[in-house]
Point group: C2
Chain length 469, copies 2
């Protein structure tokens, strides 16, 4: 198969093309200034590639004209939301043009009668969550980055988050899209209604395609009524195994909390300043659980969860009685990822998922691997989904640590797949996991994905060097 989205055919942005780009978006919306290019060079993986230029289109028509130009002249375009991605999706590895979607920042409509929201991709997820809340509605996907990541980025990566146990992930809330193909045509996919089956499901094909198949310019999202109440509790454990077993037991009893988060002792230690007295300090593991619904429903769930916790070795169980207590628990949980650098200058950040009944086995495996390699391994994440954010802390300057860390990653991936899991639950493949993709996806399936990429992007100009190498 022709590797037509490889970096080989990539061409630089000439002065002539620059002039055309400036004409399309206006002088204020194009920059070749070094300070702008540097600002758009990174993402949350700390990978760094300075683009040749940055463009800020204002509407789908401009996006289409830019991509048409890119397809005709062979220069790469990397669409970008807030740059908070965890797999390098927004990093311009082939240089070329960064297409910053920050001008697409409008909530077009919140239709409370039909439980839908129409929104542009540059809207910050948290802003949208709060806007729909004012209509008594809930947008359930809640990645830890919600306060700064954008909906466009969330869609591109199919972000998950803590509430997926009960509510699913981003793809489950996307009804329809307006998107621009790499060849410049504006398409509309999906529907604005509760059901719709006309034609292939391009909506879900674009969601999670990591900005390699099209640039999303408008999104129709499904919303739910806001639950009447949410109950939040934390519990500590004498070992990670006990915490993992407890998660299995809660769901085995057919209780579906909206969130079941966990942190191991290393994760707890680096965010303990956020935790209230007695809420987790010095514990080996901690669970953070939320149940929602009507008042009687949430109360009943809480009662049953506490029962399971008590019967399954939980230590201190604390129901958060004030909004402040709830917020401090979530602040702690969401602060883990950036706080990890206290353990070492470099980290390898993974996002594996196993069937949740296999969590105890995975926790054992991680423990043994830590002992074997001598590296600090921090794990936390969405236990209710079996989704483990597993971090290996090391120092790149040490060749021994680098080798040990990368071997550990391979062992973790192999074990994850052996347990029936996947190597990425919500962060995506990007550049971080592209080398490992063939461990999970069969050659026939990969070949098909490449044919699909070609059907969208024959010139290979959209976000090259990602996912399908």
């Amino acid at each position: 198969m022709r590797k037509n989205w490889s970096l080989e055919a990539i061409k630089p942005i000439s002065a002539r093309i620059e002039k055309q780009l400036r004409q399309i978006v206006g002088e204020d919306n194009f920059s070749r200034q070094k300070e702008d290019r540097v600002c758009y060079a990174y993402d949350a993986t700390r990978r760094y590639c300075v683009p040749e230029a940055v463009v800020f289109p204002e509407n789908a028509d401009q996006v289409g004209r830019i991509l048409d130009l890119a397809s005709k002249h062979g220069f790469p375009v990397t669409p970008r939301g807030a740059g908070s991605g965890m797999s390098g999706g927004a990093v311009a590895v082939a240089h070329g043009l960064i297409m910053a979607m920050s001008r697409f920042d409008r909530i077009v409509e919140i239709d409370a009668d039909n439980f839908i929201g129409i929104v542009q991709p540059g809207v910050v997820t948290g802003t949208f969550q709060r806007a729909v809340q004012e209509h008594g509605l809930l947008y359930p996907p809640d990645p830890s980055s919600a306060d700064f990541s954008t909906l466009g980025g969330n869609l591109a990566e199919c972000a998950g988050g803590a509430r997926a146990v009960k509510y699913g992930v981003t793809r489950d809330y996307v009804l329809g899209l307006e998107a621009v193909l790499p060849t410049g045509e504006i398409i509309r996919t999906g529907v604005q209604t509760a059901k719709g089956v006309v034609g292939y499901d391009l909506t879900r094909l674009l969601v999670g395609s990591e900005g390699t198949l099209g640039v999303i310019t408008e999104v129709t999202l499904r919303l739910l009524p806001q639950p009447e109440t949410v109950k939040t509790l934390s519990a500590v454990f004498g070992s990670m195994q006990q915490a993992a077993q407890c998660v299995v037991e809660i769901l085995r009893q057919k209780i579906v909390p909206r969130a079941v988060e966990y942190m191991d002792k290393h994760a707890i230690a680096c965010v303990e300043s956020y935790l209230q007295e007695g809420a987790g300090k010095d514990a080996e593991a901690m669970l953070l659980i939320e149940a929602d619904g009507t008042h009687p429903e949430a109360e009943e769930a809480l009662r049953r969860i506490v029962g399971v916790l008590e019967e399954n070795n939980a230590g201190h169980i604390e129901v958060a009685r004030t909004e402040e207590a709830v917020q401090s628990l979530w602040k702690a949980r969401k602060a883990i990822s950036p706080a990890l650098y206290t353990y070492g200058p470099d980290k390898i950040n993974e996002d594996i998922v196993v069937p949740r009944s296999r969590l105890p086995e995975m926790v054992d495996f991680i423990g043994r691997l830590g002992e074997k390699t001598g590296l600090t391994m921090v794990s936390f994440g969405h236990a209710g989904d079996g989704n483990i954010h597993f971090n290996i802390m090391y120092d790149k300057a040490s060749p021994e640590q680098s080798v040990a860390a990368s071997q550990a990653v391979e062992e973790i991936f192999d074990y994850t797949l052996a347990l029936g899991g996947t190597i990425s639950g919500e962060h995506g493949v990007g550049i971080a996991k592209a080398p490992y993709m063939s461990r999970e996806i069969r050659p026939e399936t990969l070949a098909l994905m490449k044919r699909i990429k070609s059907a969208f992007d024959p010139a290979g100009i959209l976000n090259p060097g990602k996912m399908l190498l």
Copy 2:
């Protein structure tokens, strides 16, 4: 664009190919007998095309070898579940081979700890629903055909049903697939875990692709815990407008029943033998509403729903107090579609969806159209989703009625699209709606769908003549 899945390149099944097919599946699993071919010639649309032969593969490997042969020799293959589809998806319009999936009838695993089921596509949906129920689990998609349609067919069409108001449709429950490409390769898509984002979402691309992109040979389905209780009620109204307005009001108050079904007076009349005394007879319209959850939750929902009904012109409101009463309501609802032929020898059966707040307008429009054409128009369906099963009864033998009926369809489609709706919510495009597809889908989007079809099926042998003409 080359129309490579058109009927032009189609070749017959030669004696030599027949011999190879018999070798692949064994003598018992291949038939050219007229009685077999006739049995596999129709679906629920009453369209009729006799295939050249019928094959009954027993595993994915056999499916792969058959499709490889078909791609090489250019004969068409139409995969088929129970033949209960409403848009002609399983009808062999290009003749060739019917691939009956009836040997794929095994529930491979129900994993109650991880809320998943692994199942072959030939399993009848209702059989699977009952099997998971024994584990305290729920498979929510519930097309009216569940007692005879198969999961493979449900996936191919992305079936919906009554419970979609709360639980969504088939695509929301498919985690992963094993499927065979038209070129014969066996692929695996998706995951068996709660989250997963590695590579393009081929799972949802195959779901709803109407058997044109691949043959599904194994399915991993997401399950939910069974709700503790279900409350069912019916209410009658003096007009369809009042019933429609009441549906809008229930959801506007953020109540999410699991089902909100409606029937107009014609629909009621043709199934009234199923209805208990006073439960709907002689009414202009009827709603059938279900709420589920924990006992207090369902009770509370019921109380609130009754409140809205009482404030919104409902006549007789009847809560079904016995399982028998519940069953008789659902039997009536599910019997409508086949019972409609009492109104005329022919029907045009539509499956439109509008944003549910536009239901009252659509109901008005249908009323006016009935008056204008003089034809009996029956409507019923999933009001909570805005999903209207709209039937025009007529006599094909009458040229006047035929013209009036087909003009009415076009008017309905245009009005549906003007209201922000879709021309198919759950029945699919198949042959029935293929001529209308370009009214809803833009040329650029259609062209992309055709390129995707080519990426899967370069020889155009899989279910040709459907959806993308």
